[in-house]
Amino acid sequence: MTLAPETTDLKVELQLNGDWFAVCELARLLPGRGVAALLPDGRQAALFRDRAGNLYAVDNRDPFGGAAVLSRGLTGSVQGRPFVASPLLKQRFDLETGQCLDDESVRIATYEVRAA
């Protein structure tokens, strides 16, 4: 007998221009870590899953350093708000709003994301 875990069918999807764009299987997202996705228009998104199973997606580019690396940062939460810290110079970004928590004037794009 083979038992397939329930999640194998679930795909992580991003909303792009009103359509849902499938990125990968949900199982590829390790809680607390991210992955990067290449979007049809050449942009990159960083996708994360937190401990409670919530999904987040933001632009992958670190606006301070310029490299596309946010998916490789460490995640966490401050006062209940999820964030990712850039692996370059450690600035943190709110995963829900894209707001940089260490520099008010900086915000990165966010995407609607779901598992379906």
């Binding site: 996705a37 596309a68 999820p82 004037s105």
Partner: protein, 867 residues
């Protein structure tokens, strides 16, 4: 938009033309004085949106939305009954009849008219200046248009190398265009910096991949048959191919409306006003902001003086006393990652003044202070490092308490002094945008009980405009809190109230082997059950890894939950570089390597096109690997017998050695063999910070063992063990812990020493700082690890034995684990596609990173007098 219904002919009316930054501040100043209750206030706003933060305009490209840039609180407009007409500019003024006509045809009678029409970008009259692809850089609409046009183009050029021009060029580069800057003057930012500063700036900006053309003018814009820009002709006869041109050649006051109704304007533009900001021609009309020619004969292109004028005009209209007598033109910005600041009399215009200059053009540094005869600091220019800007600016106009030279020398060079903001007098202006003095900030802490920077910002308004004073603000708040004896939380982070040492004890004593378990049981109240943070996750991950065999955790850092705790470098088992590529450092124990090994490394580096360098740690670093190449590279390295060098981990790095007794005529012990033994024993040991070691074959110390965390020097009768040495930022000579040890004694002592350090140090605390910090210092450590005063030596040794017995090379494990390998891709949905942002350019026959998109204007400017 709101109308005040009861507005009648009888209510005196104030009409404001222009709803920019200064106009909005004027409205706030009116409301503060209660004038909005007694007057009808009409605002004519030309742009399609109410006032927004023009100073932070460029941050649109780093993700700010137009809504976020807005400075207009609709509730404020409504509660004060202000009539705001968006998208409806004033077209004429009849001063005789005291009436303003708007484009929509509405006519407003006024008692007081305030012009705050700002300025417009100056576009030099070159042929085809209005062609498709030509832009200016002033409004949100300009940025939207540039962004749209750039989408399908590859090259952009900015005319003008002033502050704004550089900002615009950074934005173009950020949009993915190859960017050029064309500046007529012989240097960049001609107004703010002098030749020396310009040279330092030029070097740094060119290194970032922007092409700078100074000393040339733009003569013509070249267009194709469809009238779209294809290039520009320069005054030196050359032609520059470009798809897009942004003019940033300065601004001119928007005084047409004033001219048309006969108000006096200056020779070079600007509505002439007196010290109360009242036009000299008509007592019922005021002009403020960039459209005004102030009583001191200047037109200010900065927001701070405009704000002061807004306050002055509002006060005058409310019959209070106020005057605008002139303002400071200090500027600081962080553009394209370069700090540039100028303040006060930057060009040394004062009679008899002297310059103090420090310049290092290789490092892109240039600092100049202008000093008066009596030692007064008059002004200065800082390029490349504007760290001292906040303090220096506040000292301008006074004699600083230390010698000026010491303020510009870099740390470590001669008598450099860090003059902290605590040395400033209470009346020094800390925030020049909002005119907040140091005393006011201290008062916010001591009298208004503010304990954080955001609270102080709210309380004093300091730091709320351009943000350049926030750093000094933070230092003042901390200093003030400490002075008033506020207790500082010693917890590891926001998630744990324990120190790292306490967490280590909990993990070891209770055999807790997951982070979540530790967080849920011992975290702070708000943090339990949460996601932790970037500080405690790697710290706890390191504790778990150091103790893995003892507490029953996997010793493999990418296993299960542990993978999510690791710093990014540990997670990819490689060091991330500035463009998102990685470096690869195989372990070369003791620095000893066979020719065969060298050849393998050479071949791999050649096949993958990696940059190679001999490191300071006696091994070879290969740079420029893409994430998906790491497993391929490591498969070959592991095949050839190499292991991870843990260059990425807070763990043992290298044990350097000299050739020692085997070859050297002075050597008294086999230092290479001992170095290899030590390196293999402690490899992979996770610790609070990195660990370095070295073994020298005699007292000549060619391996520099006394600069290591644990260093060994051969004696004729054995080994001397030194601990707590450090190179790096704060070098420290190691202390002698024990002498003339046998091999076995040496290893036993190092085992104990390292485990005691791992147990009691703080996160990111090298052995040197740890030794200085712990009560009792070296004597205490010697008591514990040599005399066993705490009776823990046996435990320390067995912890180390367990580590040694369970060591496995993590790269060998990883390349044999398909599930882990799947993580080494640039894109989860396109595993074969490399990250296009990772690019390289040649240098000295190898490669170097081609810097990806630059940092653009995210650090707001504090002024840009000339653009």
């Amino acid at each position: 938009m709101t109308a005040t219904p009861e507005a009648t002919e009888a209510t005196p009316t104030i009409v404001l033309v222009g709803h920019g930054m200064v106009g909005q501040r004027f409205l706030e100043a009116l409301a503060e004085r209660g004038m909005t209750a007694t007057h009808r206030v009409v605002v004519l706003c030309e742009e399609p949106r109410p006032a927004y933060d023009r100073v932070a305009l460029t941050s649109y490209f780093s993700g700010k939305t137009p809504e976020e840039l807005s400075m207009t609180d609709m509730e404020f407009i409504e509660t004060h009954g202000i009539e705001l007409y968006v998208g409806d500019p004033a077209v004429s003024v009849d001063r005789e009849a005291k009436k303003v006509t708007a484009r929509s045809g509405q006519v407003f009678a006024y008692e007081t008219l305030v012009l705050a029409t700002g300025s417009y970008p100056f576009v030099p009259p070159v042929p085809n200046k209005d062609a498709r692809g030509c832009f200016v850089y002033r409004t949100i609409e300009d940025l939207l248009a540039i962004e749209e046009y750039a989408r399908t183009r590859t090259t952009g050029a900015v005319v003008g190398g002033g502050l704004l021009g550089l900002e615009a060029a950074g934005a173009l580069k950020g949009l993915g265009l190859t960017s050029h800057i064309v500046e007529f003057a012989p240097r960049l930012m001609p107004v703010q910096v002098d030749d020396g500063g310009g040279a330092a700036l030029l070097r740094t900006i060119e290194e970032m991949g922007l092409s700078v053309h100074t000393g040339v003018g733009t003569q013509e814009i070249v267009v194709d048959e469809d009238g779209a820009v294809t290039g520009m002709k320069l005054s030196d006869g050359s032609e520059l191919a470009t798809d897009l041109v942004v003019f940033s050649a300065g601004v001119r006051p928007r005084d047409q409306l004033a001219r048309d109704c006969g108000l006096t304007v200056g020779e070079r533009g600007g509505i002439t006003v007196d010290e109360q900001c009242r036009t000299v021609a008509d007592p019922h009309v005021f002009a403020i902001g960039e459209c005004a020619l102030a009583a001191d004969g200047r037109v200010y292109g900065l927001v701070a003086p405009g704000y002061e004028q807004a306050e002055t005009a509002a006060a005058t209209i409310a019959s209070d006393e106020a005057a605008f007598l002139g303002a400071d033109l200090s500027t600081k910005l962080k553009l394209l990652g370069v700090d540039v600041a100028s303040f006060g009399d930057a060009h040394g215009a004062t009679a008899d003044c002297l310059d103090v200059v420090y310049s290092d053009s290789r490092a892109g540094l240039y600092k100049k202070l202008v000093i008066g005869r009596d030692g007064t600091l008059l002004g200065g220019i800082l390029v490349g490092d504007a760290e001292a800007y906040g303090t220096l600016k506040a000292f301008t106009g006074s004699v600083p308490p230390v010698k000026p030279e010491s303020l510009v020398l870099p740390a470590g060079a001669g008598e450099s002094v860090q003059l902290g903001p605590t040395a400033l007098p209470d009346d020094a202006i800390i925030c020049s945008c909002n005119n907040v003095r140091k005393g006011t900030i201290r008062g916010a802490v001591t009298e208004h009980n503010c304990t954080t920077v955001p609270e102080v910002k709210k309380c004093t308004k300091a730091g709320t405009t351009c943000g350049s004073c926030v750093k000094v603000l933070g230092q003042l708040v901390t200093a003030e809190l400490e002075a008033s004896g506020v207790e500082v939380d010693k917890g590891l982070c926001g998630c744990f109230s324990q120190t790292r040492e306490e967490l280590y004890e909990i993990v070891l004593a209770l055999r807790i082997n997951t982070y979540q378990d530790l967080l849920d049981r011992y975290g702070r109240d708000g943090a339990k059950g949460g996601d932790g943070c970037e500080i405690c996750k790697p710290a706890v991950g390191s504790i778990i890894a150091s103790l893995a065999p003892t507490i029953g955790a996997s010793g493999y850092v990418l296993d299960g939950e542990q993978a999510s705790l690791q710093d990014s470098n540990d997670h990819f088992l490689a060091n991330i570089q500035k463009n998102g590529s990685y470096s690869v450092v195989p372990r070369i124990p003791g620095g000893e390597i066979t020719p065969e090994g060298l050849i393998v490394i050479g071949e791999i580096a050649r096949d993958f096109g990696l940059y190679t360098k001999i490191t300071g740690g006696q091994r070879i670093d290969m740079f420029g690997a893409r994430v998906e190449q790491l497993p391929l590279i490591w498969t070959r390295l592991v095949d050839a017998g190499f292991e991870s060098g843990h260059a990425y981990g807070k763990s043992l790095r290298t044990v350097k050695s000299c050739v020692g007794q085997t070859w050297c005529r002075y050597g008294v012990q086999d230092s290479v063999r001992m170095a290899i033994d030590l390196e293999l024993r402690y490899r992979g040991l996770r610790s609070p910070h990195k660990l370095k070691s070295a073994v020298s074959g005699c007292a000549r110390e060619c391996a520099e063992a006394q600069s290591k965390d644990f260093g060994v020097i051969a004696t004729s009768s054995g080994w001397n063990l030194y601990v707590g040495g450090n190179g790096g930022a704060t070098p420290r000579h190691a202390d002698l812990l024990a002498q003339d040890l046998t091999d076995a004694e040496l290893i036993k002592l190092i085992d104990r020493f390292l485990m005691f350090y791992i147990r009691t140090a703080d996160r990111l605390e090298r052995t040197s700082t740890w030794l200085e910090r712990i009560p009792g210092g070296l004597d205490h450590v010697r008591d514990v690890v040599v005399e066993d005063s705490l009776g823990i030596c046996e435990e320390l040794e067995s912890l180390m034995t367990a580590h040694v017995a369970h060591y496995v090379d993590e790269w060998a494990t990883t390349i044999n684990d398909p599930e882990k390998l799947a993580r080494f891709v640039s894109f989860v949905n396109a595993p074969d596609t490399p990250d296009p942002v990772v690019g390289f350019v040649p240098e000295r026959e190898q490669i170097k990173p081609d810097l990806p998109l630059l940092t653009i204007g995210h650090r707001p400017l504090e002024g840009s007098a000339q653009r």
